[in-house]
């Protein structure tokens, strides 16, 4: 077990966006989070990554409570994410975006950067290589010098995944990575997420595409109105009456 949520709640003013959520993520596992719009999925990611702190409950990463830590600390520990609305660093190149994502994994200080010390140059060279490898992994190796903002939509989504991977996370949180993609792109993404799993990373995936989720995920967590209504393997969840009513029922009409 690498990530654990224990009775986590989040209120925005009077609105209970999440109430009393508990589940675990094991190393190397793909966990899907599904639920209708406004169910609280993105809020869940915001809590895990420290963008918000939970109103109550505990979030543990490798048995260490991480709530209250700043987001960059949590990333450094080993949790990285992408955003539902793509948020790249638009005015720098794709490669530099990935390199920025690796910020917490390299050491060079200002002084070394100014004088381009041997250590710094070696580090930068390796970083560049690593970033290129990641771009290759997500399939946009030929765009390394393109400004992030001028990439087409699908490639921006991939670049965001590469940037998250650059932080060498153990857990990757992907918030609707297939949004706006066509069928064949979604297919490719499926492969990519499997690749990420093969690298030994756990993936937590939010997605509305039920086919994708059923095929891809080892386990599903279902949210509705901020509550967890079901959890289990895709087959179990598929059979759950509450889920069918709340969510799948509508989808399969």
């Amino acid at each position: 077990m690498i990530l654990a949520l224990e009775n986590v709640s989040k209120n925005f003013g009077g609105l209970a966006a999440l109430s009393d959520i508990s589940f675990n993520v094991n190393a190397g596992e793909i966990v899907g989070v599904i639920g209708p719009n406004g169910a609280g999925k993105t809020t869940l990611f915001n809590l895990i990554t420290g963008v918000f702190s939970p109103s109550s409950g505990t979030i543990r990463y490798r048995d260490k409570a991480v709530n209250g830590l700043k987001p960059h600390k949590i990333t450094e520990l080993g949790v990285a994410r992408t955003f539902q609305n793509i948020r790249l660093f638009g005015h720098i190149s794709a490669l530099e975006n990935v390199m920025a994502g690796a910020h917490c994994r390299i050491k060079a200080n200002l002084w070394q950067g100014l004088w381009r010390t041997k250590v710094e140059r070696k580090e930068e060279r390796e970083l560049r290589q690593k970033a290129k490898t990641l771009l290759q992994l997500v399939g946009i190796a030929d765009e390394e010098n393109t400004l992030a903002a001028s990439l087409p939509y699908g490639k921006q989504r991939r670049l965001e995944i590469a940037r998250a991977l650059a932080a060498e996370p153990e857990v990757v949180l992907l918030d609707e990575p297939a949004a706006g993609m066509n069928e064949s792109e979604t297919e490719d993404l499926h492969g990519l997420i499997k690749e990420i799993q093969k690298l030994g990373k756990a993936v937590v995936l939010i997605e509305h595409d039920m086919n994708l989720m059923m095929n891809l995920c080892d386990r599903l967590v279902v949210l509705n109105f901020g509550k967890k209504i079901s959890e289990g393997t895709p087959d179990v969840v598929r059979e759950n009456a509450e889920v069918i009513e709340a969510y799948l029922g509508k989808e399969e009409e």
Binding site: T42, T43, F45, N46, T49, V51, F52, R81, F83, Q84, N85, R87, D175
Partner: protein, 292 residues
Amino acid sequence: MLWQQVVNGLTLGSTYALIALGYTLIFGVLNIVNMAHGEIFMFGAFVALMLVTTFKVNLLVAMAGAALAGAVLGYLLEVTALRPLRKRAVSHMAPLISTIGVSIFLESLALNLFGAQSQSFPPMFSGKLLDFGLFQISVIQVVILAISVGLMLVLKFWLDRTKMGKSIRATSENIDTAAILGVNTQRVITITVMLASGLGAVAGVLVGLAFNAVEPTMGIPMGFKGLAVLILGGLGNITGAMVGGLLLGIAEVFSVAYGASSYREAVAFGLIMVLLFLRPQGLFGSPGNGGR
């Protein structure tokens, strides 16, 4: 002594409130800080001064003239420095910078038109003092108080009751929703900027009367005070601007009365810096909306 200071503070503060209202109205509708407001204020004072000295009109007519001139300047500001930026979705700092441009443009224009020296209104009410026992108040002060408080009440009433006022408030709430509900937001924006500028111009006349000095450089310090009140009272909060203005006026008068007279100009910003240190998102701001 105490009551005298309070009365002086309220008089001064009511003019600050009027300036701050201009900032607040524009911020509410457009989400920008209009850095040129202080210079429109200063132009208002000059227009009224010219009307009174050259054309010998009475003070109320001069004020109406100033308000009109302010509204025209506001219209020009909207057309040249604000509207073009809205068309290209540029950074939210862009309007701040372009209105800073307008501010130094207008200040320099005034220097060229009116000269650098300070001018004053002809003595109008012979400095007569009304004695109320607890405090004395000059006729000028009564005029200033009456006009600024009167304008604020009219404004509040107008915003609450009239169709246009309601449109302005709807646009302040949420410009997209307002547009969907059929509000002509372009028109609302133009009218708000003109209204705010007209109010600013009248405030200029009142401050010119209060200090008996009208000069091209008066826009900057007064604009700064309006900014301070804008933040004190909460961005876009109309009641907040009124209360904040009065508070600042009183704080300043007391700082002068109790020894720190030469630091008067720093009082406003001293206040807001302390405030911002305590609440970096402003008094009424919300702390950001998280990652999506």
